[in-house]
């Protein structure tokens, strides 16, 4: 069963500013992203203005502010993948999905994220759909991969 927002927040002591990041991480693990309600409630709980909570959360790439799609696509932008043309891969995914990095499609099916390194440098360039790696991909593969996931819905 999913823990409620209040449950997660109440795991941490009220007024403890130092628990901001673990708290935000817990919420993101549970819900996949941080919504406004979460940020406002966290701020109230640890006595930090919401502008600060939002400012700190946006400082870190790990936090998302829109809900993930049914299929969450991560494109690796680490050094090795970059050398193997991952920028073009990212642009192609954006083109096929008609989405920008960091966005979720309106129908909620796909979301796209660029990440630093997924530790599969030997198989660059890689992308990852809901935890499943696609290795050594080329531009023409992308439409195929995405069509496959579209067809499963």
């Amino acid at each position: 069963m999913q823990a409620s927002l209040d449950d997660i927040i109440n795991r941490y002591k009220a007024g403890s500013r130092e628990s901001l990041l673990p708290l935000l991480q817990d919420i993101q693990i549970e819900f996949g992203y941080l919504n406004e309600e979460a940020i406002l409630k966290v701020g109230q709980h640890i006595k930090l203005p919401s502008s600060k909570v939002y400012g700190i959360a946006t400082f870190y790439d790990q936090f998302r502010f829109v809900q993930k799609g049914k299929f969450h696509i991560k494109v690796c932008r680490g050094t090795s993948c970059h050398m193997h043309g991952s920028l073009n891969i990212l642009r192609e995914v954006e083109r096929v999905l008609n989405l920008k990095e960091g966005q979720t499609s309106r129908d909620g099916r796909f979301s796209l994220e660029a990440v630093s390194c997924m530790g599969a440098c030997g198989s660059a360039p890689v992308l990852n759909v809901n935890g499943e790696f696609k290795t050594a991909i080329a531009i023409p593969d992308i439409a195929q991969i995405i069509n496959f996931y579209k067809s499963t819905i």
């Binding site: 406002l40 701020g43 203005p49 502008s51 600060k52 909570v53 400012g55 946006t58 400082f59």
Partner: protein
């Protein structure tokens, strides 16, 4: 303890625990900075204050580095100048380059620095970030494109005002300053005090303005224009025209306003006298009836928004009196207009204020009737000065005039609302008369005239032993409120002004990065109070005649209808 350091080949005295910048400033040496705010912890964001220290490889930011005994500092070596210039050029590479069209043209710290450093060509080209301006607030216009991320607004809002409406959002070259969720300021906890505008080095933060609307009204013969100017204006306006800070130019100001084309010129000091009389009556009634105490002052709209959003449970403590601006505005609509044979709809009512929160106040739903505002437009001191320059009026050539009837006279008590503690002093004078029937001889309360953020004063008036607390700078109010909530009962009246020093330090005042002139303006107000004979709000002759003919007496039905207001709990992103 003092010790010697060497700066540019000369020996100067430095104090232990000073930063290099403080040591330099103490000795009259200047290094530029775009992010430093005096008396706040350094942030070291802008890197303009870098200096060369012998024996150190890199340049050192003077604002955040402690001064040490062995130091040999060079503040303007070629290397330092080159670094500052490059920094400035890099800032400009992501700047809109629209100085000619900018609010702060001619009074911009970035512009001045570029000028001083002789930046004459563009060396860095690149894609500029795209930003949206935020026009959502009634008081503030935020233009992130002009922001140089110095962080001054964030720090003044968080560390001094303790509101924390703004923060850096994102990181790296995508960083910008904004309220929570980067939404509109109108949804944020911003109280519109405008202290962020006062410290912004560029035009990224400014007051909301409608110059065309005003011009239309001034030149439309079918519309009668009325202006009221705040008690603070007469001791501030002179600065904008190169005269001595704090010089009182009341009569000249009235005359200049007529020259601008205003049909009727009133002084909000009259409204202030009215407020004092009404509020003293309300306070006396609360004392007699033993209803909710302490009573909070209500003339600062930033404070009102603060208490509405932060302590809605205390709204009953807030005086129901409108602010002087809104009292006079309501009188103009409901008393002056019929008297002059006009309909309130034909009047365009303007006010000139040292404040940007007044813009917000005039738009409050409680200040409108069927959607029509009592005060249609609020100008800041800066806007008014610009308007005077625009119309080619030479302040030094203008002969003083009086303001208009029926609100012509004012007391110095009304004038005192310009300074923190002044409202309380003025109120005590009228309250003394209400309670004892005699005038007080207590005309100078030193306890309320200090520069402290929080002041208290205890006095016995008639049979009442009363405690008065005065707060200036909204960041100082929270400790007092928690004392009250914990059951402190020796305080009966609390005056709160959101800005440091009261209205003389308001967010609509002239922007001088180096000296804010707050003390000079306050001094001038106190001198007026010393010099002039009418020191009592309730003795104001015009006010007495308005009472005789229209309002009848303080707290009457007519007063309650026009001069009192209500407050509402506010949901904001806190």
């Amino acid at each position: 303890m003092l010790f010697d350091i060497e700066v540019n080949g000369k020996t100067i005295k430095a104090k232990r625990e000073d930063t290099i910048l403080m040591a330099l400033e103490r000795n009259g040496l200047k290094v530029p900075t775009l992010c430093h705010i005096k008396d706040l912890l350094p942030s070291g964001a802008c890197r303009m204050c870098v200096v060369e220290v012998e024996g150190r490889q890199g340049l050192i930011p003077a604002c955040s580095h402690p001064v040490e005994e062995w130091m040999k500092v060079r503040t303007h070596s070629p290397r330092v100048i080159k670094a500052r210039k490059t920094n400035t050029e890099l800032l400009l590479s992501n700047h809109p380059d629209d100085c000619l069209y900018c609010e702060r043209n001619g009074n911009c710290e970035l512009q001045k620095l570029a000028e001083d450093l002789n930046v004459r060509e563009r060396r860095f080209y690149g894609k500029k970030n795209k930003y949206k301006t935020d026009p959502s607030s009634a008081s503030l216009l935020r233009d992130p494109a002009k922001c140089i991320l110095c962080g001054r607004c964030i720090r003044i809002c968080e560390e001094i005002q303790k509101i924390t409406a703004l923060e850096f959002i994102g990181r790296g070259n995508k960083t910008q300053v904004g309220p929570a969720f980067n939404k509109g300021m109108n949804l944020s906890s911003c109280i519109n005090c405008g202290q962020c505008v006062m410290v912004c080095p560029t035009g990224a933060l400014a007051e909301k303005q409608y110059p065309a609307k005003l011009q239309d009204a001034l030149h439309n013969p079918a519309v009668k224009t009325v202006i009221q100017c705040s008690p603070t204006l007469s001791v501030t306006l002179a600065e904008e025209f190169g005269l001595r800070a704090g010089k009182d130019i009341e009569g000249i100001m009235y005359a200049a306003l007529r020259k601008l084309g205003f049909d009727f010129v009133f002084d909000t000091s009259f409204g202030a006298d009215l407020l004092i009389t009404e509020q003293a009556t309300e306070f006396y009634n609360r004392l007699k009836e033993g209803t909710i105490l302490p009573m909070f002052s209500s003339c600062c709209p930033a404070w009102i928004k603060y208490i509405e959003q932060t302590h809605p449970d205390l709204l009953g403590n807030v005086s129901a009196c409108k602010s002087p601006q809104q009292m006079l505005g309501a009188l103009v609509s409901n008393h002056f207009a019929p008297l002059a044979g006009m309909s309130a709809d034909d009047i365009y009512s303007v006010s000139a204020m040292p404040c940007i929160a007044k813009k917000f106040e005039s738009q409050r739903e409680q200040m409108t009737h069927k959607g029509i505002t009592d005060v249609d437009l609020v100008l800041t001191t800066r806007e008014l000065a610009r308007l005077i320059r625009l119309n080619g009026i030479d302040i030094e050539q203008v002969d003083p005039e009086h303001s208009d009837q029926p609100y012509q006279s004012r007391s110095t008590a009304g004038k005192m609302l310009a300074v923190s503690g002044g409202l309380t002093e003025a109120l005590i004078r009228t309250l003394h008369f209400l309670i004892t029937g005699k005038e007080t001889s207590l005309l100078k309360i030193q306890e309320l005239r200090s520069g402290k953020g929080r002041k208290e004063y205890f006095v016995k008036i008639g049979e009442y032993k009363l405690g008065f607390a005065v707060v200036n700078g909204i960041g100082n109010v929270e400790p007092l409120i928690s004392e009250i909530k914990k059951g402190r009962t020796d305080i009966h009246y609390i005056e709160v002004m959101a800005c440091d020093g009261g209205c003389v330090g308001g967010g609509g005042q002239p922007i001088h990065p180096e000296n804010n002139n707050i003390k000079a303006r306050a001094k001038s107000i106190y001198e007026l109070d010393e010099k002039e004979s009418n020191k009592f709000a309730h003795q104001n002759a015009s006010l007495q005649s308005v009472y005789n003919l229209f309002l009848l007496n303080p707290g009457s039905e007519v007063s309650l209808t026009h001069l009192y207001t209500t407050y509402e709990e506010r949901e904001v992103m806190r």
